[in-house]
């Protein structure tokens, strides 16, 4: 019973749940503020994402008459959010208790990362809106393009760690972190550099950030799958994307650079790394360039990140 309670705490409070929610919202706020500053504007307050959520709580949730199923329409955002909270509980955060192996390993995480995309697809198609349908097809095309590379990246890291540890593959994220603490970060392992490149491109695509925010482009398809959502249901999607940014950042740090000092200082350093990566890797890029077309994005993913990931995997297997 007590282990079940511990699992529940890890999904609902630390390191999933509230912790990931708070961090995700803080990242979003910093992102919006920094983007405004880069454009020479004042920008919204840092707590703006929280204001937005409270506001959405006051609004009415409308279900369109065209929706094929009211139930699915309303449950989809919940499924997306819960899957991300679970995924956040799988990320080893330094300074916090390690995630329980009972929750699952990196394979579970890869599956969970696919759920929000699928939820968006379902949301777009169930709403019965034309724009939702366009968003659905774009999301699906993009997902098919980026899911391959991420699986190969994870496989490359798992096999590389496994080879060094004398096993076939190491799938536990905690083990991967421990290995790097002893043998040095994967960031400095030339064999895994192609995988790192693939991951760098996976990051904005999975989070729906410029230049890969094609399914939710508000100037083209009126926010695509989210077009019919209003009020609290939309708020759940916003929460989901906040947690997702934490999960994907955490996954990247875990796979490639988990070296931080011991104890609470490690947590502080880890949080700082999150913010620095978000502001430099996402905000600066987002402000600097425009959106790709869906065919360009798919062609790009099938050309560069996929090839990089395959190359990395091949080298790992051969070496």
């Amino acid at each position: 019973m007590s282990t079940q309670a511990a699992l529940l705490v890890s999904v609902l409070a630390f390191p999933g749940g509230l912790f990931a929610l708070a961090l995700g919202l803080a990242l979003k706020g910093a992102d919006r503020r920094f983007a405004a500053r880069l454009q020479g504007r004042v920008g919204p307050p840092l707590l703006q994402p929280i204001y937005d959520l409270v506001k959405l709580g006051f609004k009415r949730t409308m279900v369109p008459l065209t929706a094929t199923s009211q139930l699915v329409f309303l449950v989809t955002p919940l499924v997306a959010l819960v899957s991300m909270l679970y995924a956040a509980a799988l990320i080893p955060v330094p300074g916090l208790p390690a995630p329980s192996p009972q929750l699952g390993n990196v394979l579970v995480l890869v599956y969970l990362l696919a759920i929000p995309g699928v939820a968006l697809m379902v949301a777009g198609s169930v709403s019965g809106s034309t724009y939702g349908a366009i968003g659905f097809s774009r999301e699906m095309a993009l997902m098919l393009a980026y899911e391959g590379p991420i699986v190969l990246v994870v496989a490359a890291v798992a096999l590389r760690t496994g080879a060094a540890e004398g096993q076939f593959a190491v799938l536990s994220l905690t083990e991967i972190v421990r290995h790097q603490q002893v043998h040095g970060a994967n960031l400095f392992d030339p064999v895994l550099w192609p995988a790192l490149i693939a991951f760098v491109f996976f990051y904005p695509a999975n989070l729906g950030i410029v230049p890969f925010d094609i399914p939710e482009a508000e100037t083209e398809v009126l926010e695509g799958p989210l077009v019919e959502y209003s009020g609290p249901a939309l708020g759940l999607f916003k929460l989901m994307s906040a947690v997702k940014s934490v999960v994907v950042l955490g996954l990247g740090l875990t796979l490639f650079f988990p070296l931080v000092p011991e104890g609470p200082l490690g947590l502080v350093v880890w949080l700082l790394e999150d913010f620095v990566l978000m502001l430099i890797g996402v905000t600066a890029v987002r402000v600097g360039i425009g959106r790709m077309r869906i065919d360009q994005a798919v062609a790009f993913f099938l050309k560069w990140p996929l090839v990089a990931a395959i190359a990395s995997l091949a080298v790992v297997v051969v070496v």
């Binding site: 919006r32 703006q48 937005d52």
Partner: protein, 145 residues
């Protein structure tokens, strides 16, 4: 009760804007879309954000004299916006028809059709006036939450 008021104060800091172009000459739309967002005026510091879908909107900005062609679509669009919402008419066109005032093809003034809360006159209005209108709309919206 007190907590509810607090939450409403917080919620009022996040008004999302939605633009309806009801047959405007595009002058007012350019003022809304670009000038109000440039570094000098920046509506985002009020917490505003232009949203793509009417379902996400809190404050509706209507421009143009409401041409007959677009009237039913605009009314339908207005219905799609979830309550509570505030309507701001931008430009002199929605007030009187402006330069289109004697035209057979327009339905101005638009307050026959929409519950207009704030008028921002001007052809096109200056960005300061638009920001002032949005700020007034936020005050009204706060009371409606």
């Amino acid at each position: 009760m007190n907590i509810l008021t607090k939450f409403k104060d917080v919620a009022a800091r996040s008004p999302w804007l939605y633009r309806i172009n009801a047959g405007s000459c595009n002058g007012c739309d350019v003022e809304l879309a670009t000038t109000a967002l440039i570094p000098r005026w920046d509506v985002e510091r009020l917490g505003c954000q232009y949203c793509g879908s009417p379902r996400h909107a809190d404050i509706v900005l209507i421009t143009g004299p409401l041409t007959r062609h677009v009237r039913d679509a605009a009314l339908r669009l207005f219905e799609e916006i979830p309550d509570p919402k505030v309507t701001v008419a931008v430009g002199v066109c929605p007030i009187s028809g402006g330069i289109f005032r004697e035209s057979y093809a327009t339905c101005a003034p638009i307050d026959q059709w929409f519950p207009v809360d704030v008028n921002v006159p001007g052809c096109p209005p200056r960005p300061q006036a638009i920001l002032d209108g949005v700020a007034k709309a936020i005050a009204i919206w706060r009371a409606r939450l």
